[in-house]
């Protein structure tokens, strides 16, 4: 890939803000527009910008295939754990108000929704990066 100092500098500045916005969308998803899927896609877009600016080999050093596998399994396990926790308190899957009623902690319902949204976001981020890796990897030769 050709060296381009403008693209590299601008993407180095933009990537942290895109990632922060993705985290904001995940955290704000329960009470406004957004949620786990949209935030995960915005977070993955930061990695796609890094792939465009710095090349796929540089990004693979930061998050490799093993890391993607661990992130995707961790996210879906977090979501399933929150969902199955409500079955332990004699509710339906993801019926989180029974946990709040049983434990008596105020706003626990919202906290558990945020944890489930974070799980969705982690999985979506990992799977999006995995798709881009499989599509954009040219096996060493420059595209």
């Amino acid at each position: 890939m050709r060296e381009n100092v403008v693209i590299r500098t601008v993407s180095r500045l933009a990537v942290p803000f895109i990632q922060l916005f993705g985290l904001y969308v995940i955290a704000h998803g329960a009470s406004g527009p957004g949620g786990g899927f949209q935030g995960g896609v915005a977070f993955a877009a930061a990695f796609i910008l890094m792939i465009i600016a710095f090349g796929i080999a540089d990004v693979r050093k930061r998050i490799n295939n093993r890391g993607i596998m661990i992130f995707s399994i961790f996210g879906i396990a977090l979501y399933a754990a929150v969902g199955l926790l409500s079955i332990l308190y004699a509710g339906n899957f993801l019926q989180l108000n029974v946990i709040e009623a049983a434990l008596g902690i105020p706003h626990l319902h919202g906290i558990l929704i945020d944890i489930a949204e974070a799980g969705i976001g982690i999985t979506v981020m990992a799977i999006m990066i995995s798709i881009i890796y499989d599509m954009a990897d040219t096996g060493g030769e420059s595209a």
Partner: protein, 81 residues
């Protein structure tokens, strides 16, 4: 809902959709499809469906454009006939 704005956006969207399937170069078609997605985002947001608008902006205009360009870079850009 401002019907003049809706009318202009829908007209431009139809133009983009027709252009995307008639243009010969695949890279041009991809960029026109991204513009189509952007207008669709404005329309969803105007119809108070902010969640759908967000998804359309992130997936339609962002991820699929990159995926299409990655696929085009492995094939030829225009057909020979």
């Amino acid at each position: 809902m401002i019907w003049e704005l809706d009318f202009a956006l829908l007209l431009f969207m139809i133009c983009c959709a027709i252009a995307a399937i008639t243009v010969r170069d695949l890279l041009h078609a991809t960029i026109i499809l991204a513009a189509y997605s952007l207008i669709m985002t404005v329309l969803w947001a105007e119809m108070n469906a902010v969640d759908v608008a967000f998804t359309e902006a992130a997936v339609g205009a962002g991820i699929t454009t990159v995926l299409f360009i990655a696929a085009i870079s492995r094939t030829r850009r225009s057909s020979s006939d």
